[in-house]
Assembly symmetry: C2
Homo-oligomer: 471 residues x 2
């Protein structure tokens, strides 16, 4: 089945339906196959989507018909305006990074790796195995399957130097994805109306979670080599914040990796202020020319709350992550997870553990590292050749993204619109700033579909930058 | 493998380890098999659990050893006390209903149906099928798979009377379990410091979610036939609340089902106050002598926010539920879900849809209804015979629980403790009251393991009631 021809057929039929009478009969599948030169499976998929949207209904053995809409009147939900009141922390719509795109555009906006970068065979067999075990029918403990807690704790323990107590399995709480972890951390450790320091720019999902938790976000400038400890110190002092959110390895969006010396400097500031460092190690499996080095490995006094996810490296369907925290902070987090979702599907936990404990997982990660390197270099070269106006501060040593600065005054939303008309989707950099952006940026993902189209994408970007109005 | 012998071996080894030196070698698997008269699989399971708890470590080809603890000092997390501040809404630990129990006790405390009541074959084959499709590797839309949204909307649409506009598929938002739905509803529609009316007694998970959201819970007395509309009216008037949480069908814990006339009366009060009714239809698949009738079917003006879960009837591993809401309320909920978890595993959604669209699902539900009826009647008869002090207000027409009133002055926590010593686990009723309990209650679940043990369980309860101190 071809996704883009299915969308094409669906769009065509939508137009047809818009002018048809309720109850009108659609052309038969055979006619649609002939008219659109598509397979019956593709046509049927389009029909299923239209059924799901409530536009048509099929009567088996009779045919498919434009749905006679049962709406007897337009509902007025105006009364809800008063009931809902204005929202204390307005939560915006989802980011560009979550948009899905059809196959006929060049997509550099995505937040997730393309399917060809996922361990497909491992995922399918792990899920099939888990479906045959207890995990398909049992309820796991609230903190997670003990074996999976152990795996997460051991991953961090393996890089913990001598003299530092490594985390225990019970310090790890399994989460249904790291977004849920961010929400819980900000709710449980920061709270409504309290200050929260965040690197800026930073992950849009973390900004969203912070707003949802009602935290007062205080940006700390990031820079190509991580935050300046002096600036961080001042922010703690001025705001009396107790929590600092950061991504020390391959930060999203900038790609920055903290130099080793900065780990201890930041920890020092955090300790002095009796505060938490929330370390989001989202790209742990995406090192290219360096290895990720968690700051959490250097702390055993409970100052670092460490988030590690498997969703992006294993499969978007296996939403499994963990937060490692010690002391009362862990209790707060566990209580928040209990109230929020009680437990994480044991099937997904068993499948995740199966994948990451297979010998083939390590060879997959080695291959992934190479593929990401090739893709990154291809996009960097394409930009340098075809979009010289785009300035690349850092060629990241890992992660999935390039963070590109555009000439001052570039209207990035207009640019994104112009690019999309020409067949290229990019993510405006504004989404990664908790406050006003400090320049014109776009984030380009080199882990998306069709790396062969990177040169063409860079050419479209270069052309839009050269020709576009308002720049 | 036998769970209880595995636990027994584990407990034995724990005692052994407690007095052994770090690095001491454990008896071989063969010796343990002989000593405990258990299978090698059972012994290995016990060893895996001890490994997961960090108590032992195995060196392949050498043996298994008491883990040399790497802790060099006891950590002092006292500094966190200041950083965490006191908690605005203290979130308690999880309920008795989530405790797991070994096979050698009689368990009447559980919140979930026993495995023999689940459609095991359907679940396993649906998961195996989903593992082979796109769902194993793709990211679904934030609101859910369109086909599953359609199924949830159609379920409610099918009982919507003529003249009322049924919900559309896009009114349904797929959730990773209904607990997440409760959290989102209270966060998005009530908010910090705002009043929230709740039936009392009511589902402990809803109380927990309300506290986490910082809502001000205002109890409205429930009663065997639902809340009194006059009391509800007064509560709305006095508090200016805009949200009322209720379970009109087979309420947990009381088992009450609202009479049909009450549907319109409550809707009337809710409309007059420009408010929302949050209808938790948790037991939709658990009707016994009546059919569940959602209040939501009588509203198309967006007053009812409707929660329906599949976790308890399909499998605890398939954490899938949906909230159906219309108008701006739906937008608020979708934004909250995005910030909280972005999307629900497409694999679990595909598997859930597969199960509930199989013809065998309907025959499963018919069988389930019979089994629940038999179990309910067995427990009711056993209580009447062996624990006449326990007073059963309502024999519920559906759901999983009996709500039992004990003689005034009974200390239910002492009673639960006495029962547990004698081999019976029950859930003290206090957990279902948002404020002080109005009497001594226990909740007894008739959907747990071993219905054959119900008479023995009732006998233990009757004896504890007759002999226990402090009553």
């Amino acid at each position: 089945m071809n996704d883009s021809s299915s969308s094409r057929i669906e769009a065509g039929l939508r137009n047809w339906i818009a002018t048809a009478a309720p109850g009108a009969r659609l052309p038969s599948t055979r006619e649609l196959v002939a008219r659109h030169q598509a397979s019956p499976v593709t046509v049927q998929h389009a029909l299923r989507m239209l059924t799901a949207r409530g536009l048509i209904e099929s009567r088996p053995g009779v045919g498919t018909f434009v749905r006679a809409v049962r709406t007897v009147r337009t509902a007025d939900y105006g009364w809800q305006t008063a009931a809902l009141r204005s929202f204390p922390a307005r939560v915006d719509s989802l980011s560009t990074a979550l948009r899905s795109a059809s196959n006929d555009v060049i997509a550099l906006h995505a937040g997730y790796p393309d399917r060809e970068l996922l361990p497909e065979r491992l995922v399918r067999s792990a899920l099939a195995r888990a479906a045959r075990t207890d995990a398909a029918l049992a309820r796991p403990p609230a903190a997670g399957l003990p074996e999976l807690q152990t795996w997460f704790a051991n991953e961090l323990g393996a890089v913990t130097p001598a003299g530092i107590t490594p985390p225990t399995p019970s310090d790890a709480i399994v989460l249904p994805g790291s977004q849920s972890g961010l929400s819980s951390v900000f709710r449980a450790l920061v709270g409504v109306g309290q200050p929260l320091l965040m690197e800026s720019p930073t992950y849009w999902g973390a900004i969203l979670a912070a707003r949802q938790a009602g935290a007062l976000v205080v940006p700390v400038p990031g820079g190509p080599a991580g935050p300046d400890p002096g600036q961080l110190e001042r922010a703690f002092r001025e705001t009396a914040a107790r929590v600092f959110y950061a991504q020390p390895n391959y930060a999203n969006p900038t790609g920055a990796q903290w130099p080793t010396a900065l780990h201890e400097q930041v920890l020092q500031v955090v300790r002095e202020h009796g505060a938490f460092l929330v370390e989001d190690d989202w790209a742990h499996d995406f090192g290219i020319t360096s290895a990720p080095t968690p700051v959490a490995a250097h702390d055993d006094a409970g100052h670092v709350v460490y988030l590690r996810s498997l969703t992006k490296s294993v499969s978007p369907a296996i939403r499994v992550a963990a937060v490692i925290a010690r002391g009362p902070a862990r209790e707060r987090l566990l209580a928040d997870r209990g109230a929020e979702s009680m437990y994480v599907s044991g099937l997904l936990q068993a499948a995740a553990l199966d994948v990451v404990t297979q010998p083939a997982w390590h060879s997959h990660l080695r291959g992934l590292r190479q593929q990401l390197g090739t893709r990154r270099d291809l996009l960097v070269a394409a930009l340098r050749e075809h979009a010289p106006q785009a300035e690349l501060g850092v060629v990241p040593a890992g992660g999935l993204n390039l963070w590109v600065r555009l000439p001052d005054g570039t209207d990035v939303h207009q640019l994104a619109y112009d690019c999309e008309k020409a067949g290229l989707i990019i993510a405006p950099g504004t989404e990664w700033f908790p406050a006003e952006p400090t320049g014109s940026f776009v984030r380009l993902n080199y882990a998306g579909p069709s790396p062969a189209a990177f040169p063409a994408g860079a050419r479209l970007l270069g052309r839009a930058l050269a020709n576009g109005p308002g720049r």
